[in-house]
Symmetry: C3
Subunit: 249 residues, 3 copies
């Protein structure tokens, strides 16, 4: 392990020898970190909590955790996790591989995240949320869970594969956003959005099929499904699978 | 005092011997911390400012301040303060007991907060705000104060006892939200909300009595006033007083 | 240089001897800091990135960078930069003098900022944004850039001189907000706003000339252009120029 001399690393933590740990960071004992991962400065990983299940914080191989981030114990992340700065992730978050979490994002725990999910800056994921594979969530989006706050009822939102939620949108408790659906900016999503539809507004209303949006790159191709044209950062095998799934045009 | 060896604690600070202070935290001189309080890592307490009144930052007994939080001098908090991570609290904030401040919340100071007020993550409290007892404020809510920014006029919002403000709502300058009122998610509250009413929308409009919302817990009871059914985390004596105040049904 | 003993300062950084650097802060090598600047605790300045142009992070004279802030290399700030806490600024941000960045604000880089621009707390500036001189942007405002996310098309917003964008507003990709215009709180700005007009709503619509808003300070003067009455914190020469530019009344 290549820890900065100022870092405080518990001898109980299971850390691959190749892992780098930055200055003023703290790694508690109930933590496992995979090969080739880099942890920035001023982070705290494996914060203890009575609200977990006793399991370790597990960070997969080849991950990058940027400075000032805080992760609790009892959460698990596949290989290739990438975070911005000042990320907070509470206990009982189960995430797949290739998860990207933007600066200031706040994951409240007790939630499930698929593969290659991308949260931009300042996204808030409430407890009991389910976010499926390849979802994109943009800045200042909140997934809520309490239909009549404060209460003991938690109805998490479900965001299905390839869905996109644009900036400053709130998803109300128990709502499902369909596969490949697009929710426009500044929306309040009060009821389910069907697969491959656009919803926008406060409250959000259906505005047609997502494939009617055209790319402003000079080609006038359909902008959705976005997997037809946006491939940056995904493994080749994933993209090949996506392309094979598209209808022949 | 049980300060981590890396913590920097001014000998002028008045800190009860039982207080714990985490790694890489800084406690300035004009600070008083009560018995049994715990301060996490990477915090800075008692930041000096010319904008205060010279008084100390006072943190009551049995409080928990989580990592990366920043508090200025000249503010006061009753017993049982609990914060999330990365909280910022400026000078001249006067808060009662049992105050909870969620991760990333930003209190601009020059404001008054009652007893057992709960701010969820990423709440912004503008200067001159008044937040009364037992109020709940949910993520990404902003209390504003300048009716025609930028200007020297500050008209704080007033949130009365037991009121609830749901996610992503902005309260415009000088607005009062009534006792026990419910402001729905994604609202812009441009005028006063009467006691025990629901307001929602941009701009927010009256949508009837709060007690018409039913609990989705299978009981179909009224969800408001929430003090009738939600008691987690409040002292028994407080709850007993609430229950005695409810009309017999 | 007056660096706290716990600060980690690269000998390659070019730092004026008068600069103060707080505890637990990190200054990387590709950094230049001007005379009289103060850097708070727990900051990280000059973070390396492949996405820059190799140039240094340059911080002008007389600047104040508050705690827990993170700046990347390849950005430049004129004299008199002032930040709140936990600010994040990525590479290729070019800003003029007197820039103020509020607590939690997140500047994504690849953007241009004029002189005396003021961002309040928790403002998000997307890549390719252009913010001209004397602009005010209030809490939870987001400048976006992707017209059909995710894509490789970036259309930054342009905010012209003296414009004001109120709390919780989103500016959609490619939109221009005119000189001296006022965008009301909680708006979604989907099309250009003309100079000196008010726009408000979701979507924002024109509501007349900005000068019809009256100051609530007892004088009933026009609140806009704000340069006619709000001068706090600007150099005398700047204010004199503003006053000379106003029509005689």
């Amino acid at each position: 392990m290549r820890a900065h001399p100022t870092a405080i690393v518990s001898p109980k933590a299971k850390i691959h020898p190749s892992v780098e740990i930055g200055p003023f960071s703290i790694i508690h004992g109930n933590v496992e970190i995979g090969e080739g991962t880099s942890v920035g400065s001023n982070c705290e990983l494996g914060v203890a909590t009575r609200l977990g299940d006793g399991s370790a914080l597990r960070i997969g191989q080849g991950s990058t955790i940027r400075s000032h981030s805080v992760f609790y114990e009892s959460s698990s992340f596949g290989d290739g996790l990438v975070t911005g700065h000042r990320v907070t992730v509470r206990e009982l978050t189960q995430a797949g591989r290739g998860f990207q979490i933007g600066t200031l994002s706040d994951i409240q725990g007790h939630c499930t995240v698929g593969d290659f999910v991308r949260l931009h800056s300042n996204v808030h994921i409430g407890q009991k949320s389910v976010v499926e594979d390849y979802v994109w969530i943009f800045p200042y989006v909140v997934l809520t869970n309490d239909p009549h706050p404060p209460s003991e009822v938690l109805l998490g939102a479900r965001i299905k594969s390839f869905a996109v939620i644009a900036t400053m949108t709130t998803v109300l408790p128990g709502v499902t956003v369909g596969e490949g659906a697009l929710v426009g900016a500044c929306s309040a999503v009060t009821k389910d959005v069907a697969d491959h539809r656009i919803a926008v507004g406060n409250p959000a209303v259906d505005r047609g099929d997502a494939n009617r949006v055209r790319l402003k790159d000079g080609t006038d191709r359909a902008a959705y499904p976005w997997k037809s044209h946006f491939h940056r950062g995904y493994p080749e095998a994933v993209v090949a699978e996506w392309m094979a799934s598209l209808p022949k045009s």
